[in-house]
Protein backbone atom coordinates (compact mmCIF):
# COMPACT_ATOMS: atom_id res chain seq x y z
CA UNK A 1 0.00 0.00 0.00
CA UNK A 2 2.88 2.29 0.77
CA UNK A 3 4.32 1.76 -2.70
CA UNK A 4 0.95 2.42 -4.23
CA UNK A 5 0.78 5.67 -2.45
CA UNK A 6 4.27 6.67 -3.61
CA UNK A 7 3.32 5.87 -7.18
CA UNK A 8 0.20 7.92 -6.90
CA UNK A 9 2.12 10.82 -5.48
CA UNK A 10 4.40 10.62 -8.49
CA UNK A 11 1.41 11.54 -10.64
CA UNK A 12 1.37 14.93 -8.98
CA UNK A 13 4.90 15.64 -10.19
CA UNK A 14 3.93 17.60 -13.34
CA UNK A 15 1.73 19.85 -11.25
CA UNK A 16 4.42 20.26 -8.61
CA UNK A 17 6.95 21.29 -11.26
CA UNK A 18 4.39 23.60 -12.80
CA UNK A 19 3.63 25.36 -9.55
CA UNK A 20 7.30 25.64 -8.64
CA UNK A 21 8.02 27.31 -11.98
CA UNK A 22 4.97 29.53 -12.17
CA UNK A 23 3.82 30.07 -8.59
CA UNK A 24 6.61 29.51 -6.09
CA UNK A 25 9.52 31.09 -7.96
CA UNK A 26 7.57 34.17 -9.16
CA UNK A 27 6.20 34.59 -5.65
CA UNK A 28 9.71 34.54 -4.22
CA UNK A 29 10.83 37.08 -6.82
CA UNK A 30 7.91 39.33 -5.88
CA UNK A 31 8.74 39.03 -2.20
CA UNK A 32 12.39 39.76 -2.90
CA UNK A 33 11.45 42.92 -4.78
CA UNK A 34 8.95 43.82 -2.08
CA UNK A 35 11.47 43.89 0.74
CA UNK A 36 14.26 45.72 -1.09
CA UNK A 37 14.61 49.27 -2.36
CA UNK A 38 15.76 50.32 -5.82
CA UNK A 39 19.42 49.82 -4.89
CA UNK A 40 18.76 46.31 -3.62
CA UNK A 41 19.05 47.10 0.11
CA UNK A 42 16.63 45.59 2.57
CA UNK A 43 13.69 47.87 3.28
CA UNK A 44 10.10 47.53 4.39
CA UNK A 45 9.11 50.92 3.01
CA UNK A 46 7.43 49.32 -0.02
CA UNK A 47 5.20 47.23 2.22
CA UNK A 48 4.41 50.20 4.42
CA UNK A 49 3.59 52.31 1.36
CA UNK A 50 0.25 50.52 1.53
CA UNK A 51 -0.87 53.01 4.15
CA UNK A 52 -0.11 56.24 2.26
CA UNK A 53 -3.29 58.23 1.62
CA UNK A 54 -3.42 57.55 -2.14
CA UNK A 55 -2.81 53.82 -1.81
CA UNK A 56 -5.06 53.40 1.23
CA UNK A 57 -7.89 55.19 -0.56
CA UNK A 58 -7.52 52.97 -3.63
CA UNK A 59 -7.46 49.95 -1.34
CA UNK A 60 -10.65 50.99 0.45
CA UNK A 61 -12.47 51.58 -2.84
CA UNK A 62 -11.30 48.16 -4.04
CA UNK A 63 -12.51 46.60 -0.82
CA UNK A 64 -15.85 48.37 -1.09
CA UNK A 65 -16.39 47.33 -4.71
CA UNK A 66 -15.30 43.75 -4.04
CA UNK A 67 -17.64 43.46 -1.04
CA UNK A 68 -20.62 44.96 -2.87
CA UNK A 69 -20.01 42.73 -5.88
CA UNK A 70 -19.66 39.59 -3.77
CA UNK A 71 -22.93 40.34 -1.95
CA UNK A 72 -24.75 41.04 -5.22
CA UNK A 73 -23.37 37.83 -6.72
CA UNK A 74 -24.63 35.84 -3.72
CA UNK A 75 -28.05 37.48 -3.89
CA UNK A 76 -28.31 36.75 -7.61
CA UNK A 77 -26.85 33.25 -7.47
CA UNK A 78 -29.15 31.67 -4.85
CA UNK A 79 -32.52 32.34 -6.51
CA UNK A 80 -31.04 31.32 -9.84
CA UNK A 81 -29.70 28.08 -8.41
CA UNK A 82 -33.03 27.34 -6.73
CA UNK A 83 -34.75 27.64 -10.10
CA UNK A 84 -32.16 25.67 -12.05
CA UNK A 85 -32.02 22.73 -9.63
CA UNK A 86 -35.70 22.02 -10.19
CA UNK A 87 -35.28 21.75 -13.98
CA UNK A 88 -35.08 18.49 -15.89
CA UNK A 89 -31.53 17.33 -16.59
CA UNK A 90 -31.52 18.38 -20.24
CA UNK A 91 -32.76 21.87 -19.42
CA UNK A 92 -30.41 22.12 -16.49
CA UNK A 93 -27.45 21.34 -18.75
CA UNK A 94 -28.65 23.94 -21.17
CA UNK A 95 -29.02 26.57 -18.45
CA UNK A 96 -25.52 25.91 -17.13
CA UNK A 97 -24.15 26.01 -20.65
CA UNK A 98 -25.96 29.29 -21.18
CA UNK A 99 -24.33 30.73 -18.08
CA UNK A 100 -20.85 29.64 -19.00
CA UNK A 101 -21.06 30.50 -22.68
CA UNK A 102 -20.20 34.21 -22.31
CA UNK A 103 -16.89 33.12 -20.82
CA UNK A 104 -15.93 31.68 -24.19
CA UNK A 105 -15.69 35.20 -25.49
CA UNK A 106 -12.66 37.31 -24.79
CA UNK A 107 -12.95 39.14 -21.50
CA UNK A 108 -11.79 42.50 -22.85
CA UNK A 109 -14.27 42.22 -25.67
CA UNK A 110 -17.11 41.61 -23.23
CA UNK A 111 -16.09 44.64 -21.18
CA UNK A 112 -15.90 46.83 -24.28
CA UNK A 113 -19.35 45.64 -25.28
CA UNK A 114 -20.66 46.45 -21.81
CA UNK A 115 -19.05 49.87 -22.06
CA UNK A 116 -21.03 50.57 -25.21
CA UNK A 117 -24.24 49.28 -23.67
CA UNK A 118 -23.82 51.51 -20.61
CA UNK A 119 -22.58 54.62 -22.42
CA UNK A 120 -24.62 57.83 -22.39
CA UNK A 121 -25.98 57.21 -25.88
CA UNK A 122 -25.84 53.45 -25.48
CA UNK A 123 -28.42 50.73 -25.92
CA UNK A 124 -29.50 50.79 -22.27
CA UNK A 125 -30.24 54.51 -22.35
CA UNK A 126 -32.04 54.11 -25.68
CA UNK A 127 -34.38 51.66 -23.99
CA UNK A 128 -34.73 53.75 -20.83
CA UNK A 129 -35.52 56.97 -22.69
CA UNK A 130 -37.72 55.03 -25.11
CA UNK A 131 -39.84 54.02 -22.13
CA UNK A 132 -40.09 57.68 -21.17
CA UNK A 133 -37.61 57.74 -18.29
CA UNK A 134 -34.65 60.02 -17.67
CA UNK A 135 -31.42 58.62 -19.15
CA UNK A 136 -29.14 56.90 -16.66
CA UNK A 137 -25.68 58.37 -16.09
CA UNK A 138 -23.99 55.01 -15.59
CA UNK A 139 -21.00 55.41 -17.87
CA UNK A 140 -17.68 55.92 -16.11
CA UNK A 141 -19.06 55.54 -12.59
CA UNK A 142 -18.50 53.16 -9.72
CA UNK A 143 -21.85 51.59 -10.54
CA UNK A 144 -20.62 50.70 -14.01
CA UNK A 145 -17.55 49.02 -12.53
CA UNK A 146 -19.77 47.04 -10.14
CA UNK A 147 -22.01 45.93 -13.01
CA UNK A 148 -18.94 44.81 -14.93
CA UNK A 149 -17.48 42.84 -12.03
CA UNK A 150 -20.80 41.16 -11.20
CA UNK A 151 -21.34 40.30 -14.87
CA UNK A 152 -17.91 38.77 -15.12
CA UNK A 153 -17.85 36.81 -11.87
CA UNK A 154 -21.46 35.69 -11.38
CA UNK A 155 -20.84 32.24 -12.95
CA UNK A 156 -17.99 31.69 -10.51
CA UNK A 157 -20.38 32.29 -7.63
CA UNK A 158 -23.23 30.33 -9.13
CA UNK A 159 -21.46 27.11 -10.05
CA UNK A 160 -20.03 26.14 -6.64
CA UNK A 161 -23.34 26.95 -4.97
CA UNK A 162 -25.15 24.93 -7.60
CA UNK A 163 -22.83 21.99 -7.03
CA UNK A 164 -23.51 21.85 -3.31
CA UNK A 165 -27.24 22.42 -3.58
CA UNK A 166 -27.71 19.81 -6.28
CA UNK A 167 -26.07 17.33 -3.93
CA UNK A 168 -28.85 17.84 -1.37
CA UNK A 169 -31.24 14.92 -1.71
CA UNK A 170 -34.85 15.70 -2.55
CA UNK A 171 -35.86 13.44 0.36
CA UNK A 172 -34.07 15.69 2.82
CA UNK A 173 -36.11 18.67 1.66
CA UNK A 174 -39.31 16.62 1.64
CA UNK A 175 -38.59 15.50 5.17
CA UNK A 176 -38.17 19.09 6.25
CA UNK A 177 -41.49 20.06 4.66
CA UNK A 178 -43.24 17.02 6.10
CA UNK A 179 -42.08 18.04 9.53
CA UNK A 180 -43.80 21.36 9.05
CA UNK A 181 -41.07 23.67 7.82
CA UNK A 182 -42.28 26.49 5.60
CA UNK A 183 -40.48 26.92 2.25
CA UNK A 184 -38.61 29.85 3.77
CA UNK A 185 -37.36 27.91 6.74
CA UNK A 186 -36.48 24.97 4.47
CA UNK A 187 -34.24 27.36 2.63
CA UNK A 188 -32.70 29.07 5.63
CA UNK A 189 -32.41 26.04 7.92
CA UNK A 190 -31.64 23.25 5.46
CA UNK A 191 -30.49 24.46 2.06
CA UNK A 192 -28.40 27.42 3.17
CA UNK A 193 -26.40 25.60 5.86
CA UNK A 194 -25.83 22.64 3.54
CA UNK A 195 -24.60 24.86 0.74
CA UNK A 196 -22.12 26.74 2.92
CA UNK A 197 -19.02 25.02 1.47
CA UNK A 198 -20.09 26.09 -2.03
CA UNK A 199 -20.89 29.57 -0.83
CA UNK A 200 -17.47 29.85 0.76
CA UNK A 201 -15.59 28.79 -2.34
CA UNK A 202 -17.83 31.07 -4.42
CA UNK A 203 -16.91 33.99 -2.19
CA UNK A 204 -13.23 33.15 -2.49
CA UNK A 205 -13.36 32.91 -6.26
CA UNK A 206 -15.32 36.15 -6.61
CA UNK A 207 -13.95 38.34 -3.86
CA UNK A 208 -10.23 37.86 -4.41
CA UNK A 209 -10.07 38.55 -8.16
CA UNK A 210 -12.52 41.46 -7.97
CA UNK A 211 -10.35 42.96 -5.26
CA UNK A 212 -7.28 42.91 -7.52
CA UNK A 213 -8.81 43.64 -10.91
CA UNK A 214 -7.83 46.77 -12.77
CA UNK A 215 -8.95 46.31 -16.37
CA UNK A 216 -12.65 46.59 -15.55
CA UNK A 217 -12.05 49.83 -13.65
CA UNK A 218 -10.09 51.23 -16.59
CA UNK A 219 -12.67 50.33 -19.21
CA UNK A 220 -15.96 50.84 -17.37
CA UNK A 221 -14.77 53.40 -14.83
CA UNK A 222 -13.42 55.65 -17.55
CA UNK A 223 -10.11 55.91 -15.73
CA UNK A 224 -11.83 57.84 -12.94
CA UNK A 225 -11.99 54.98 -10.46
CA UNK A 226 -8.55 54.03 -9.23
CA UNK A 227 -8.34 50.62 -7.59
CA UNK A 228 -5.32 49.18 -5.83
CA UNK A 229 -4.84 46.97 -8.90
CA UNK A 230 -4.53 50.07 -11.10
CA UNK A 231 -1.81 51.45 -8.85
CA UNK A 232 0.15 48.20 -8.87
CA UNK A 233 -0.20 48.02 -12.65
CA UNK A 234 1.07 51.58 -12.99
CA UNK A 235 4.08 50.87 -10.80
CA UNK A 236 5.06 47.96 -13.02
CA UNK A 237 4.30 49.31 -16.47
CA UNK A 238 4.63 53.09 -16.47
CA UNK A 239 6.56 54.10 -13.39
CA UNK A 240 8.78 50.99 -13.65
CA UNK A 241 9.05 50.91 -9.86
CA UNK A 242 8.93 47.14 -9.48
CA UNK A 243 9.88 47.34 -5.82
CA UNK A 244 6.89 49.44 -4.89
CA UNK A 245 4.58 47.40 -7.15
CA UNK A 246 5.78 44.18 -5.52
CA UNK A 247 5.51 45.70 -2.04
CA UNK A 248 1.89 46.67 -2.63
CA UNK A 249 1.12 43.26 -4.15
CA UNK A 250 2.68 41.46 -1.21
CA UNK A 251 0.79 43.58 1.31
CA UNK A 252 -2.44 42.95 -0.58
CA UNK A 253 -1.78 39.20 -0.66
CA UNK A 254 -1.11 39.24 3.06
CA UNK A 255 -4.39 41.03 3.68
CA UNK A 256 -6.33 38.53 1.60
CA UNK A 257 -4.60 35.57 3.16
CA UNK A 258 -5.73 36.77 6.58
CA UNK A 259 -9.18 37.77 5.39
CA UNK A 260 -9.77 34.56 3.50
CA UNK A 261 -8.21 32.23 6.04
CA UNK A 262 -11.61 31.01 7.21
CA UNK A 263 -12.66 29.79 3.77
CA UNK A 264 -9.24 28.54 2.73
CA UNK A 265 -9.03 26.42 5.85
CA UNK A 266 -12.35 24.83 4.98
CA UNK A 267 -11.28 24.14 1.44
CA UNK A 268 -8.09 22.39 2.40
CA UNK A 269 -9.44 20.51 5.39
CA UNK A 270 -13.14 19.70 5.01
CA UNK A 271 -14.99 20.55 8.18
CA UNK A 272 -16.58 17.08 8.42
CA UNK A 273 -14.13 14.68 6.79
CA UNK A 274 -15.76 11.43 5.79
CA UNK A 275 -13.61 8.33 6.04
CA UNK A 276 -13.94 5.65 3.43
CA UNK A 277 -12.60 2.10 3.63
CA UNK A 278 -9.09 3.06 2.63
CA UNK A 279 -8.94 5.67 5.31
CA UNK A 280 -8.66 8.48 2.76
CA UNK A 281 -10.24 11.77 3.41
CA UNK A 282 -13.17 12.46 1.19
CA UNK A 283 -13.82 15.97 0.08
CA UNK A 284 -16.75 17.64 1.70
CA UNK A 285 -19.55 18.17 -0.84
CA UNK A 286 -19.06 21.20 -2.99
CA UNK A 287 -15.48 22.00 -2.09
CA UNK A 288 -13.46 24.00 -4.52
CA UNK A 289 -12.48 20.81 -6.35
CA UNK A 290 -16.01 20.22 -7.50
CA UNK A 291 -16.70 23.79 -8.47
CA UNK A 292 -13.54 23.97 -10.55
CA UNK A 293 -14.53 20.82 -12.36
CA UNK A 294 -17.86 22.34 -13.22
CA UNK A 295 -16.28 25.53 -14.48
CA UNK A 296 -13.82 23.72 -16.69
Amino acid sequence: MDRNRKQRQLLALPYVLWSIAFTVIPLLVIIRYAVTDKDGHFSVSNLLAFSTPVNAKAFLISLEIALICTVICVLLAYPLVMVVRRLRISRMTFMLFFLIMPMWMNFILRMLALQMILSNNGILNMIVTGLGFQPLALANTKAAVIIGVVYDYLPFMMLPIFNTISDIGEDVLEAASDLGASPLSVFFRVILPMSLPGLKSGITIVFVPSMTSFVIADILGGGKIQLIGNIIEQEFTRSTNWNLGSGLSAALMLFMLVGMSFTIKDDILPSHPVKDEEGEKKEAPGGEGISRRAVL
Binding site: N120, G222, K224, I231, Q234
Partner: protein, 349 residues
Protein backbone atom coordinates in the same frame (compact mmCIF):
# COMPACT_ATOMS: atom_id res chain seq x y z
CA UNK B 1 0.19 56.42 -28.92
CA UNK B 2 0.77 54.41 -32.06
CA UNK B 3 -0.95 51.16 -31.53
CA UNK B 4 -1.40 49.46 -34.81
CA UNK B 5 -1.65 45.85 -33.97
CA UNK B 6 -3.99 44.55 -36.60
CA UNK B 7 -1.99 44.95 -39.75
CA UNK B 8 1.19 43.65 -38.14
CA UNK B 9 0.30 40.07 -38.89
CA UNK B 10 -0.83 40.94 -42.41
CA UNK B 11 2.45 42.68 -43.08
CA UNK B 12 4.52 39.76 -41.94
CA UNK B 13 2.67 37.60 -44.44
CA UNK B 14 3.66 39.93 -47.24
CA UNK B 15 7.37 39.71 -46.49
CA UNK B 16 8.50 36.61 -48.38
CA UNK B 17 7.14 38.03 -51.64
CA UNK B 18 10.01 40.40 -52.17
CA UNK B 19 12.67 38.18 -50.73
CA UNK B 20 13.94 36.26 -53.76
CA UNK B 21 15.29 38.99 -56.02
CA UNK B 22 18.80 39.89 -57.10
CA UNK B 23 20.34 36.45 -57.34
CA UNK B 24 23.43 37.60 -59.24
CA UNK B 25 24.59 40.34 -56.93
CA UNK B 26 26.20 39.51 -53.60
CA UNK B 27 23.26 39.16 -51.22
CA UNK B 28 22.71 42.46 -49.44
CA UNK B 29 20.35 42.63 -46.56
CA UNK B 30 18.98 45.18 -44.11
CA UNK B 31 17.22 44.48 -40.84
CA UNK B 32 14.64 47.19 -40.31
CA UNK B 33 12.90 47.74 -36.97
CA UNK B 34 9.78 49.87 -37.26
CA UNK B 35 6.78 50.76 -35.13
CA UNK B 36 3.67 48.71 -35.83
CA UNK B 37 1.76 49.30 -39.02
CA UNK B 38 4.05 52.16 -39.88
CA UNK B 39 4.97 51.46 -43.50
CA UNK B 40 3.11 50.32 -46.58
CA UNK B 41 4.28 46.71 -47.15
CA UNK B 42 4.34 47.48 -50.87
CA UNK B 43 7.13 49.99 -50.28
CA UNK B 44 9.38 47.24 -48.95
CA UNK B 45 8.69 45.02 -51.96
CA UNK B 46 9.40 47.92 -54.25
CA UNK B 47 12.72 48.66 -52.61
CA UNK B 48 13.87 45.06 -52.96
CA UNK B 49 12.76 44.97 -56.60
CA UNK B 50 14.64 48.16 -57.41
CA UNK B 51 17.85 47.56 -55.51
CA UNK B 52 18.12 43.83 -54.89
CA UNK B 53 18.59 44.55 -51.21
CA UNK B 54 16.53 42.24 -49.07
CA UNK B 55 14.68 43.71 -46.10
CA UNK B 56 14.15 41.80 -42.91
CA UNK B 57 11.31 43.71 -41.36
CA UNK B 58 10.33 43.73 -37.70
CA UNK B 59 7.81 45.72 -35.72
CA UNK B 60 7.40 46.89 -32.15
CA UNK B 61 4.23 48.08 -30.46
CA UNK B 62 5.82 50.98 -28.60
CA UNK B 63 9.09 52.87 -28.61
CA UNK B 64 9.82 51.38 -25.18
CA UNK B 65 9.34 47.83 -26.47
CA UNK B 66 11.65 48.60 -29.38
CA UNK B 67 14.30 49.99 -27.08
CA UNK B 68 14.20 46.95 -24.81
CA UNK B 69 14.42 44.53 -27.73
CA UNK B 70 17.16 46.49 -29.45
CA UNK B 71 19.19 46.71 -26.25
CA UNK B 72 18.77 42.99 -25.60
CA UNK B 73 21.01 42.54 -28.64
CA UNK B 74 19.55 39.27 -29.92
CA UNK B 75 19.12 40.67 -33.44
CA UNK B 76 21.47 43.07 -35.21
CA UNK B 77 19.20 45.81 -36.43
CA UNK B 78 20.45 48.17 -39.13
CA UNK B 79 17.68 50.75 -39.10
CA UNK B 80 15.31 51.89 -36.37
CA UNK B 81 12.26 54.10 -36.55
CA UNK B 82 11.32 55.52 -33.18
CA UNK B 83 9.94 58.56 -31.40
CA UNK B 84 11.62 61.83 -30.46
CA UNK B 85 12.64 61.30 -26.85
CA UNK B 86 13.81 57.79 -27.66
CA UNK B 87 15.98 59.18 -30.48
CA UNK B 88 17.55 61.50 -27.96
CA UNK B 89 18.18 58.64 -25.58
CA UNK B 90 19.75 56.44 -28.28
CA UNK B 91 21.99 59.28 -29.45
CA UNK B 92 23.07 59.96 -25.86
CA UNK B 93 23.88 56.29 -25.39
CA UNK B 94 25.98 56.23 -28.56
CA UNK B 95 23.79 53.59 -30.19
CA UNK B 96 23.47 55.30 -33.57
CA UNK B 97 25.84 56.57 -36.24
CA UNK B 98 25.85 59.99 -37.92
CA UNK B 99 24.44 60.21 -41.44
CA UNK B 100 25.12 62.96 -43.98
CA UNK B 101 21.57 63.66 -45.07
CA UNK B 102 22.71 66.38 -47.50
CA UNK B 103 24.12 63.61 -49.71
CA UNK B 104 20.62 62.19 -50.16
CA UNK B 105 19.10 62.57 -53.59
CA UNK B 106 15.62 63.11 -52.16
CA UNK B 107 16.60 64.58 -48.79
CA UNK B 108 15.43 68.00 -49.97
CA UNK B 109 11.86 66.72 -49.95
CA UNK B 110 11.90 66.96 -46.17
CA UNK B 111 11.02 70.57 -45.39
CA UNK B 112 13.48 72.75 -43.46
CA UNK B 113 10.78 73.36 -40.85
CA UNK B 114 10.87 69.70 -39.76
CA UNK B 115 14.66 69.56 -39.62
CA UNK B 116 14.38 72.59 -37.32
CA UNK B 117 11.83 70.87 -35.08
CA UNK B 118 14.09 67.83 -34.92
CA UNK B 119 17.00 69.81 -33.50
CA UNK B 120 15.20 69.63 -30.15
CA UNK B 121 16.32 66.01 -29.79
CA UNK B 122 19.01 65.78 -32.48
CA UNK B 123 21.04 69.03 -32.46
CA UNK B 124 22.57 69.68 -35.87
CA UNK B 125 20.39 67.00 -37.52
CA UNK B 126 23.30 64.59 -37.46
CA UNK B 127 21.57 61.30 -36.79
CA UNK B 128 17.84 61.25 -37.44
CA UNK B 129 15.61 61.56 -40.49
CA UNK B 130 12.05 62.82 -39.79
CA UNK B 131 9.47 60.30 -40.99
CA UNK B 132 6.04 61.28 -39.68
CA UNK B 133 4.92 63.82 -37.14
CA UNK B 134 1.85 65.18 -35.45
CA UNK B 135 0.36 67.08 -32.55
CA UNK B 136 -1.93 66.68 -29.57
CA UNK B 137 -5.08 68.76 -29.75
CA UNK B 138 -8.81 68.90 -29.18
CA UNK B 139 -11.18 66.84 -31.31
CA UNK B 140 -14.66 68.28 -30.95
CA UNK B 141 -18.17 67.95 -32.30
CA UNK B 142 -19.03 71.15 -34.15
CA UNK B 143 -22.77 70.57 -33.66
CA UNK B 144 -22.43 70.56 -29.86
CA UNK B 145 -20.09 73.43 -29.09
CA UNK B 146 -21.18 77.00 -28.60
CA UNK B 147 -18.58 79.44 -29.73
CA UNK B 148 -15.19 78.89 -31.30
CA UNK B 149 -12.80 76.30 -29.89
CA UNK B 150 -9.25 77.60 -30.07
CA UNK B 151 -7.91 77.31 -26.53
CA UNK B 152 -7.33 74.67 -23.85
CA UNK B 153 -9.57 76.94 -21.79
CA UNK B 154 -12.71 75.03 -22.86
CA UNK B 155 -11.41 72.02 -20.95
CA UNK B 156 -11.00 73.95 -17.71
CA UNK B 157 -13.67 76.66 -17.59
CA UNK B 158 -16.52 74.33 -16.69
CA UNK B 159 -18.56 75.22 -19.75
CA UNK B 160 -18.47 71.65 -21.04
CA UNK B 161 -18.69 69.87 -17.70
CA UNK B 162 -19.23 66.15 -18.15
CA UNK B 163 -18.63 66.29 -21.88
CA UNK B 164 -14.84 66.14 -21.87
CA UNK B 165 -12.57 63.14 -22.46
CA UNK B 166 -8.98 63.43 -21.31
CA UNK B 167 -6.14 61.03 -22.12
CA UNK B 168 -5.58 58.18 -19.68
CA UNK B 169 -1.84 58.54 -20.00
CA UNK B 170 0.27 60.59 -17.68
CA UNK B 171 2.26 62.86 -19.98
CA UNK B 172 -0.61 63.50 -22.38
CA UNK B 173 -2.65 64.81 -19.47
CA UNK B 174 0.03 66.98 -17.88
CA UNK B 175 1.16 68.61 -21.12
CA UNK B 176 -2.36 70.00 -21.55
CA UNK B 177 -2.37 71.64 -18.13
CA UNK B 178 1.23 72.86 -18.40
CA UNK B 179 0.69 74.47 -21.79
CA UNK B 180 -2.57 76.03 -20.67
CA UNK B 181 -0.75 77.66 -17.75
CA UNK B 182 1.91 78.93 -20.15
CA UNK B 183 4.68 76.65 -18.89
CA UNK B 184 7.03 74.48 -20.89
CA UNK B 185 5.90 70.89 -21.11
CA UNK B 186 9.48 69.91 -20.35
CA UNK B 187 9.49 71.87 -17.13
CA UNK B 188 11.34 70.45 -14.13
CA UNK B 189 10.07 73.18 -11.80
CA UNK B 190 8.09 71.51 -9.04
CA UNK B 191 5.94 74.59 -8.42
CA UNK B 192 4.83 74.66 -12.07
CA UNK B 193 4.07 70.96 -12.05
CA UNK B 194 2.05 71.31 -8.83
CA UNK B 195 0.12 74.21 -10.34
CA UNK B 196 -0.75 71.94 -13.25
CA UNK B 197 -1.81 69.28 -10.74
CA UNK B 198 -4.15 71.70 -8.94
CA UNK B 199 -5.71 72.61 -12.27
CA UNK B 200 -6.24 68.96 -13.23
CA UNK B 201 -7.67 68.07 -9.81
CA UNK B 202 -10.15 70.93 -10.11
CA UNK B 203 -10.99 69.79 -13.62
CA UNK B 204 -11.65 66.16 -12.72
CA UNK B 205 -15.36 66.52 -11.85
CA UNK B 206 -15.89 68.02 -15.32
CA UNK B 207 -14.15 65.12 -17.05
CA UNK B 208 -16.43 62.39 -18.32
CA UNK B 209 -13.63 59.84 -18.65
CA UNK B 210 -9.91 59.35 -19.02
CA UNK B 211 -9.44 57.09 -22.03
CA UNK B 212 -6.73 56.14 -24.50
CA UNK B 213 -7.84 54.42 -27.69
CA UNK B 214 -11.55 54.96 -27.08
CA UNK B 215 -11.22 58.74 -26.64
CA UNK B 216 -11.78 59.32 -30.34
CA UNK B 217 -14.63 56.80 -30.55
CA UNK B 218 -16.53 58.50 -27.73
CA UNK B 219 -16.60 61.77 -29.67
CA UNK B 220 -17.41 59.98 -32.93
CA UNK B 221 -20.31 58.19 -31.22
CA UNK B 222 -21.60 61.42 -29.69
CA UNK B 223 -21.03 60.34 -26.08
CA UNK B 224 -18.72 63.27 -25.49
CA UNK B 225 -18.41 66.74 -26.98
CA UNK B 226 -14.64 66.96 -27.01
CA UNK B 227 -11.55 64.90 -26.37
CA UNK B 228 -7.82 65.43 -26.12
CA UNK B 229 -6.40 63.23 -28.91
CA UNK B 230 -3.43 62.77 -31.19
CA UNK B 231 -3.80 64.37 -34.60
CA UNK B 232 -3.70 61.02 -36.39
CA UNK B 233 -6.66 59.83 -34.33
CA UNK B 234 -8.48 63.06 -35.09
CA UNK B 235 -8.04 62.55 -38.82
CA UNK B 236 -9.54 59.07 -38.59
CA UNK B 237 -12.36 60.34 -36.39
CA UNK B 238 -13.40 62.80 -39.06
CA UNK B 239 -13.57 60.00 -41.57
CA UNK B 240 -16.31 58.47 -39.44
CA UNK B 241 -18.12 61.64 -38.45
CA UNK B 242 -17.84 64.71 -40.70
CA UNK B 243 -19.17 66.99 -37.96
CA UNK B 244 -15.94 66.70 -36.05
CA UNK B 245 -13.15 69.22 -36.13
CA UNK B 246 -9.63 69.24 -34.72
CA UNK B 247 -7.82 72.22 -33.32
CA UNK B 248 -4.34 72.90 -32.01
CA UNK B 249 -5.00 75.26 -29.09
CA UNK B 250 -3.35 78.64 -29.34
CA UNK B 251 -1.38 78.14 -26.12
CA UNK B 252 0.59 75.45 -27.90
CA UNK B 253 0.81 71.73 -27.45
CA UNK B 254 3.02 68.69 -27.72
CA UNK B 255 4.56 68.14 -31.10
CA UNK B 256 5.90 64.66 -31.79
CA UNK B 257 8.16 63.37 -34.52
CA UNK B 258 9.08 59.80 -35.39
CA UNK B 259 12.44 59.48 -37.10
CA UNK B 260 14.76 56.96 -38.71
CA UNK B 261 18.15 56.09 -37.26
CA UNK B 262 21.08 54.05 -38.55
CA UNK B 263 22.43 51.88 -35.73
CA UNK B 264 26.09 51.98 -34.75
CA UNK B 265 26.54 48.32 -35.72
CA UNK B 266 24.81 48.64 -39.10
CA UNK B 267 26.39 46.05 -41.39
CA UNK B 268 25.80 47.95 -44.61
CA UNK B 269 25.52 51.72 -44.02
CA UNK B 270 25.33 52.40 -47.76
CA UNK B 271 22.30 50.16 -48.14
CA UNK B 272 20.75 51.77 -45.06
CA UNK B 273 21.18 55.25 -46.54
CA UNK B 274 19.80 54.01 -49.84
CA UNK B 275 16.71 52.81 -47.98
CA UNK B 276 16.24 56.11 -46.13
CA UNK B 277 16.69 58.04 -49.37
CA UNK B 278 14.11 55.77 -50.96
CA UNK B 279 11.64 56.63 -48.17
CA UNK B 280 12.05 60.34 -48.98
CA UNK B 281 11.24 59.80 -52.67
CA UNK B 282 7.94 61.38 -53.56
CA UNK B 283 6.07 58.29 -54.77
CA UNK B 284 7.19 56.20 -51.79
CA UNK B 285 6.43 58.97 -49.29
CA UNK B 286 3.02 59.37 -50.94
CA UNK B 287 2.37 55.65 -50.63
CA UNK B 288 3.27 55.62 -46.95
CA UNK B 289 1.29 58.79 -46.31
CA UNK B 290 -1.82 57.22 -47.78
CA UNK B 291 -1.21 54.13 -45.70
CA UNK B 292 -0.71 55.91 -42.37
CA UNK B 293 -2.37 59.34 -42.67
CA UNK B 294 -0.22 61.08 -40.11
CA UNK B 295 1.30 64.45 -40.94
CA UNK B 296 4.19 64.04 -43.35
CA UNK B 297 7.31 66.22 -43.38
CA UNK B 298 7.68 65.47 -47.10
CA UNK B 299 6.94 68.69 -48.99
CA UNK B 300 6.66 66.92 -52.31
CA UNK B 301 3.72 65.03 -50.86
CA UNK B 302 2.32 68.11 -49.11
CA UNK B 303 2.32 70.07 -52.38
CA UNK B 304 0.18 67.38 -53.95
CA UNK B 305 -2.55 67.62 -51.29
CA UNK B 306 -5.95 69.12 -52.09
CA UNK B 307 -6.81 72.51 -50.60
CA UNK B 308 -9.19 70.86 -48.22
CA UNK B 309 -6.54 68.48 -46.94
CA UNK B 310 -4.02 71.26 -46.58
CA UNK B 311 -6.44 73.22 -44.43
CA UNK B 312 -6.91 70.28 -42.10
CA UNK B 313 -5.02 70.90 -38.86
CA UNK B 314 -5.06 67.22 -38.08
CA UNK B 315 -3.26 66.41 -41.32
CA UNK B 316 -1.10 69.39 -42.25
CA UNK B 317 -0.76 71.89 -39.41
CA UNK B 318 0.73 75.15 -40.66
CA UNK B 319 3.81 76.63 -38.95
CA UNK B 320 1.78 79.34 -37.18
CA UNK B 321 -0.46 76.92 -35.33
CA UNK B 322 2.61 75.05 -34.08
CA UNK B 323 4.35 78.19 -32.94
CA UNK B 324 4.01 77.66 -29.20
CA UNK B 325 4.35 73.91 -29.37
CA UNK B 326 7.23 71.84 -28.10
CA UNK B 327 8.63 68.36 -28.38
CA UNK B 328 8.31 66.36 -25.19
CA UNK B 329 11.76 65.12 -24.23
CA UNK B 330 11.00 63.20 -21.04
CA UNK B 331 12.42 64.91 -18.03
CA UNK B 332 14.92 63.72 -15.48
CA UNK B 333 14.20 60.86 -13.08
CA UNK B 334 13.14 63.07 -10.17
CA UNK B 335 10.55 64.92 -12.25
CA UNK B 336 9.22 61.68 -13.71
CA UNK B 337 8.85 60.30 -10.21
CA UNK B 338 7.01 63.41 -9.05
CA UNK B 339 4.69 63.20 -12.07
CA UNK B 340 4.03 59.50 -11.37
CA UNK B 341 3.07 60.31 -7.79
CA UNK B 342 0.84 63.23 -8.77
CA UNK B 343 -0.80 61.18 -11.51
CA UNK B 344 -1.74 58.51 -8.96
CA UNK B 345 -3.14 61.22 -6.70
CA UNK B 346 -5.13 62.71 -9.55
CA UNK B 347 -6.58 59.38 -10.56
CA UNK B 348 -7.43 58.47 -6.99
CA UNK B 349 -8.94 61.85 -6.22
Amino acid sequence: MKKRILAAAAMLLCLPLGACEGKNQPARELTVFNLCEYMDPKAIEMFTLETGITIKYEEALTAEDMYTKYKAGGIDYDLLCTCDYMVRRLIAEGEVQPVDFSSFEYGKNIGQRYWDYATAYDPGNKYSLPYFWGTVGILYDTTKVHGPIDSWDVLFNGEYSGEIIMQNSMMDTYIVALKYLGYSLNTTDEAEIRAAQDLLVAQKPDVSAYLVDEARDEVVAGNATMAVVYSGEAYLGREYNPNLDYVIPKEGTELWIDSWLVTKNCKDPDAAKQFLDFLCREDVAQMNFEYIYYSTPNEAVLNGLSDEERADEALAPDPDSCQNSEICLQSDAATTELLNELWKELRGN
